[in-house]
């Protein structure tokens, strides 16, 4: 049921996420785009689960748990960098290069 459209929507969401990561420079926005990519994957899993059984829906829970853990650590890191630099703009975060 609606497999094709669901997959198309998730592919579009994933592409928006990838584009956002590549073009935006704010660390928080980039992180939100990564979350969008993960949720696009969740939609793919759920869409396939209609046809392939319940496993796909269970994967979604794993992905959500992982995304939550990642958010906890990631926001802590972003906070740490804000304390040092007073900015989360990647254009200004350039101590390491070469």
């Amino acid at each position: 049921m609606l497999l094709g459209p669901s997959l198309a929507v998730s592919a579009v969401l994933f592409t928006i996420g990838v584009t956002g990561v590549l073009v935006r420079r704010n660390a928080i926005v980039i992180f939100m785009c990564v979350e969008l990519m993960l949720n696009a994957v969740n939609l793919t899993f759920v869409a396939f689960a209609q046809r392939l059984g319940v496993a796909g829906q269970i994967f979604v829970f794993f992905v959500m748990a992982v995304a939550a853990a990642e958010a906890a650590v990631g926001l802590a890191i972003i906070l740490a960098i804000y304390r040092h630099r007073e900015t989360v703009d990647l254009g200004n975060i350039n101590l390491l290069k070469g």
Binding site: F31, M37, V63, I77
Partner: protein, 507 residues
């Protein structure tokens, strides 16, 4: 010993190394919650970590000694020699990292014993990656490893460079994980399963070798793994992250983490996508760009830490050659090279940590001038490491490269072998200046290397690593036998999975 993994106690036996290490990690977490803050507590946590890693390695050894294998198709976790050998590499890498970290943390004022807890949890993640028989287990192991490493990369909270390294690693790591996960979702959609062996069976029985959904899934999986092993063009994060992280962590990332990603990649392409030929060209292409770009950019580095970072990128290229030759030919060479490379690189990063202060980002190759006169043993150890990375005869690195070349030639990929040799010659251009600086240039002053020293643990670990490199360089047979048994078992599993008579590689 045959383990029926559908039976609960036997499943627990199969998972023994991971369970032992998880139990230790929780104990360590409790201890650290109470004993926190002084250098003594840090040492206590370090000792407990050493015991934890040693018992987990013992558990893996016990399973290996009993020649444990799964009855029928294993569901979530593989029970084969490849997994046990991979576990030893990860645990050995973590063990050496702990030994090198003990004094480093005190010297840099990082008196937080959580360091060791994160290290142990990351190692559990690696073991799940190396042993995962299901794409979901591999993903969860990868995330367990990565999340701990994001925190470890930014562990020095006083340093803006460490925070930046943590941020870069986190953003690109999460980005890569999303690709990997999308790849898993598409493979699941195409084959209806995430079990590696069953994917292999389904690909053959449903004739999915050229199905767009599956090929797209494989490509996304390879992008995800490409980021994790730092293959060019997905390597941009690696030098920056290694540069900003505490040096023992950088060594750990360059060895054990890379080994875990490679072990998972090897198992996935070998067991699940053996019949899909397309991955081979992609991996070969990645190997070419990684070898060429990694070595050429390393030539331009003056900072020792960044040079080692790009050198680790170049070595990912050599390992990709082993992966591209496939399970049958390449896996013994792959395991051997992984051991040699891990020992060498960990020792090199530890020597860098002994030389530098404050994150080691400013140690130039020229700063090593005259080290041989003032610290002959350290200079000798670093020379052995550089020669082994270069692939000089008499060191383990040479035997490793030799076997990768043999594997590449035997599968008709002579051009990959030729490129490996050529880029290795180029790599002499940045490994040998380190040796030359130490032995042929005079020291700037008699006090130039007064502060350079390793503590007792570091010396023991360094002696073990260097002795191992030289020993495997002249007598590689024991390690080779081990690599070969791990290879045959895995090949057996893969062959069993694709035993369907309709299969032929061409169509």
């Amino acid at each position: 010993m045959t383990l029926d993994v559908s039976n609960y106690p036997q499943l627990l036996t199969a998972l023994l190394p991971e369970l032992v290490l998880s139990a230790w990690a929780l104990i360590l977490l409790l201890v650290v919650a109470w004993r926190h803050g002084t250098a003594r507590d840090l040492r206590l946590a370090g000792w407990l970590t050493l015991v934890a890693l040693a018992t987990a390695a013992g558990a893996a050894w016990w399973l290996w000694w009993q020649s444990a294998h799964a009855a029928g198709i294993s569901t979530m976790i593989a029970v084969d020699d490849f997994r046990f050998v991979a576990d030893w590499i990860f645990l050995g890498g973590a063990l050496l990292t702990v030994l090198f970290s003990m004094r480093y943390l005190e010297r840099e004022g990082l008196l937080a014993p959580e360091y060791y807890v994160l290290l142990v949890f990351a190692t559990i993640g690696m073991m799940l990656m190396g042993g995962g028989e299901d794409l979901m287990v591999i993903f969860l192991g990868l995330e367990l490893m990565s999340i701990c490493l994001y925190a470890l990369a930014g562990f020095n909270r006083r340093s803006p460079r460490a925070a930046e390294a943590g941020l870069k690693y986190f953003l690109l790591g999460a980005f890569a994980s999303a690709f990997l996960l999308y790849g898993i979702a598409l493979v699941y959609g195409a084959t209806g399963t995430t079990n590696l062996s069953l994917i292999g069976v389904q690909v053959v029985s449903l004739e999915l070798q050229h199905a767009p959904l599956l090929l797209l899934g494989v490509a996304l999986l390879l992008i995800g793994f490409g980021f994790k092993v730092a293959a060019v063009p997905f390597h941009m994060w690696a030098p920056d992250v290694y540069d900003g992280s505490p040096t023992p962590v950088a060594g750990y990332m360059a060895t054990a983490v890379k080994a875990a990603a490679f072990a998972a990649l090897f198992r996935v392409v070998g067991e699940a996508f053996g019949p899909v030929g397309a991955w081979r060209e992609i991996v070969a292409g990645l190997a070419i760009t990684t070898m060429v770009a990694g070595n050429l950019i390393a030539l331009a580095q003056r900072s020792l830490k960044r040079m080692l970072a790009y050198s680790s990128v170049a070595h990912a290229g050599y390992l990709l050659v082993a992966v591209a030759t496939g399970v049958a030919a390449g896996s013994a060479a792959f395991v051997f090279y992984l051991v040699a490379y891990s020992l060498t690189t960990l020792a090199a990063f530890a020597l860098l940590a002994a030389k530098g202060r404050g994150g080691e980002s400013d140690v130039q190759i020229d700063d090593l001038a005259g080290l041989a006169a003032q610290r002959p043993w350290l200079a000798f150890a670093l020379s052995v490491c550089m020669l082994s990375l270069l692939g000089f005869p008499g060191t383990a690195g040479f035997i490793g490269k030799w076997y990768i070349l043999v594997a590449a030639m035997s599968t008709g990929q002579g051009w990959l072998a030729a490129l490996l040799v050529l880029t290795s010659v180029v790599s002499a251009g940045y490994y040998l200046p380190v040796v030359m600086a130490m032995y042929m240039q005079p020291a700037v002053s008699t006090e130039a290397h007064a502060e350079v020293c390793l503590d007792g643990f570091g010396r023991v670990a360094m002696a073990v690593a260097v002795a191992g490199l030289l020993f495997f360089g002249v007598a590689p047979n024991r390690l080779l036998d081990l690599s070969k048994t791990s290879a045959t078992v895995q090949r057996g599993a893969a062959a069993g999975a694709i035993a369907a008579p309709t299969f032929s590689p061409g169509h």
